[in-house]
């Protein structure tokens, strides 16, 4: 079904990537500031307050897969402002292909955009933390898979969040209502097993938060399976959440934009 339209989707993607290259340095600077502050404070300052020395590895695994989530706000803002004024999307929606593929292409672009940022987190963090970051249990295959899958999920989640935001006047809520609670309650600073020890009920409730699988999967890939949810369970659950967000996001966007 999609095959005849792949050349057109590739051309749309190439257009987006050309625009991405115009902003990549700004994005890299932002990313660098974020990693440096997080890793330096966690590695060199927080142990003085009693934080476990191996917490750097725990945090870095979370940072790798969080980088993409922070792009979500910008992506949603761009889409909403375009729907309300720029209208470039409406041009794409008249191109010779099924309209929904415009948004599938956007998902591919968002994935490449955020995965490019995410993949840089680990080497930069290693340079900053050096001996404090033990990567002896890192599985490159698992790491790349969870990185890609988490960023595909963020792309689908971007569509879903966009479909939930009514207009630019609501854009401020994206961070506080969607990104922040999911991220902070998604095990960025704690593992699911620790939460389970604290409260099994809360731990089970948190399993409806897709970020749990993002964080736990990343830690299983970077630090080894011990202490994390099963890596393959995380992969399957992320896949399912991605399908769900894509399906529901596209359905709502179709209603919102009234495209064919």
């Amino acid at each position: 079904m999609i095959r005849p339209y792949l050349p057109l989707m590739w051309k749309l993607l190439r257009t987006d990537l050309e625009i991405f290259t115009q902003t990549i340095w700004d994005k890299l600077i932002d990313l660098f500031i974020w990693i440096v502050t997080m890793v330096l404070v966690t590695t060199y300052l927080m142990p003085a307050f009693g934080l476990a020395a191996d917490y750097t590895g725990f945090l870095v695994a979370s940072l790798v897969v969080s980088a993409g989530l922070f792009e979500l706000y910008a992506s949603v803002t761009n889409l909403i402002s375009d729907f309300e004024g720029g209208d470039i999307t409406s041009y794409y929606l008249t191109l010779p292909m099924p309209s929904y593929l415009v948004f599938i292409e956007k998902m591919v672009y968002y994935t490449i955009n955020t995965a490019t940022m995410g993949i840089l987190v680990l080497p930069i963090s290693k340079l900053l933390a050096w001996n404090s970051l033990d990567l002896s249990k890192l599985s490159y295959g698992k790491f790349l898979l969870i990185l890609m899958l988490s960023n595909v999920f963020y792309a689908a989640f971007t569509l879903w969040v966009t479909s939930r935001v009514k207009g630019m006047e609501q854009i401020g809520s994206v961070w506080m209502r969607f990104v922040y609670p999911l991220w902070f309650l998604g095990g960025f600073q704690y593992s699911w097993k620790v939460l389970y020890l604290f409260s099994p009920m809360l731990a089970y409730i948190s399993l409806i938060n897709p970020m749990i699988y993002v964080m736990e999967g990343a830690r299983a890939a970077v630090l080894g399976q011990e202490g994390s949810l099963n890596y393959w369970v995380c992969v399957v659950m992320l896949f399912l959440f991605t399908i769900l967000c894509t399906w529901h996001g596209l359905k709502r966007l179709r209603k919102q934009l009234d495209y064919i």
């Binding site: 005849p4 339209y5 050349p7 057109l8 051309k11 749309l12 257009t15 050309e18 625009i19 115009q22 720029g86 209208d87 470039i88 409406s90 041009y91 929606l93 008249t94 191109l95 010779p96 292909m97 099924p98 009234d258 495209y259 064919i260």
Partner: protein, 247 residues
């Protein structure tokens, strides 16, 4: 005239409980320019976005080569070009890139695009600002490049939604000249306009829409003759006055 290029069959469009189009039907022939006229809220833009396949109708159908366009939407989209009311060139790319990429989206090769850009330059005189970004252009130039993008893949039908709105009279005149040239090449045009002078000068036929319904379809000269008026504007004013009288 021969077989129609497209047939608009009983198109209806509802937005919630409001019916914006109440069963609009007419044919558009190859090489013909049909203007959609009507007061604000008559349904002109709604109809043009449906013809451009930006939005679906709530009911009704559109036929291209006697087949529903909704059976093979990409094939129909390949033969149309849509120029919306508000210019939507990508401001982060140069106008040249906007045009080149638009050509590629329609499957044109680099050579075909280069050749087409030369033709469009001869027709629209676009070379001067090809390497500028759209934000740096005046309204008239933006609209000229929008026309160029609409035409890049040599469509059979173009949909122009108020292309001259908010432009100076001299620039409007220039765009009318371009539209006449495009028509002379055999391209069918569906033109939405507020300017009756524009419709009178350019149209083969005008479709007067009122409250989502087709009130009249005829050539400007026939309308002026039957209403015994010297200008299309006077015909339109009489028609809209008739609508207001009972109130």
């Amino acid at each position: 005239m021969s077989t129609p290029l497209i047939r608009i069959c009983d198109i209806r469009k509802k937005f919630g409980s409001k019916e914006a189009l109440k069963g609009v039907s007419f044919d558009l022939y190859a090489g013909e320019l049909v203007s959609l006229l009507g007061v604000n809220g008559a349904g002109k833009t709604t109809l043009s976005t449906i013809v451009a396949t930006l939005h679906p109708p709530s009911k009704g159908d559109m036929l291209y080569q006697e087949r529903s366009i909704y059976g093979n939407l990409p094939a129909y989209r390949q033969i149309i070009g849509y120029c919306p009311q508000k210019p939507n060139l990508n401001p982060l790319l140069t106008v040249r890139k906007n045009l080149e990429y638009a050509g590629e989206y329609y499957g044109m090769s680099r050579e075909q695009i280069e050749k087409r850009l030369v033709e469009l330059n001869q027709q629209l005189g676009i070379n001067e600002y090809l390497d500028a970004k759209s934000d740096e252009l005046s309204g008239g130039w933006k609209q000229r490049f929008m026309l160029a993008r609409t035409l890049i893949h040599s469509p059979k039908l173009i949909i122009l939604d108020e292309p001259t709105v908010a432009l100076d009279p001299d620039i409007r005149n220039q765009l009318w000249h371009y539209i006449e040239q495009i028509k002379a090449e055999g391209v069918s045009i569906l033109l939405t306009t507020h300017y009756l002078e524009e419709a009178e000068r350019l149209s083969d036929r005008v479709v007067v829409l009122h409250a989502g319904e087709v009130k009249l379809i005829d050539t400007p000269s026939n309308l002026m003759r039957s209403f015994e008026k010297g200008r299309l504007e006077d015909v339109f004013l009489e028609l809209t006055r008739e609508k207001k009288d009972p109130l």
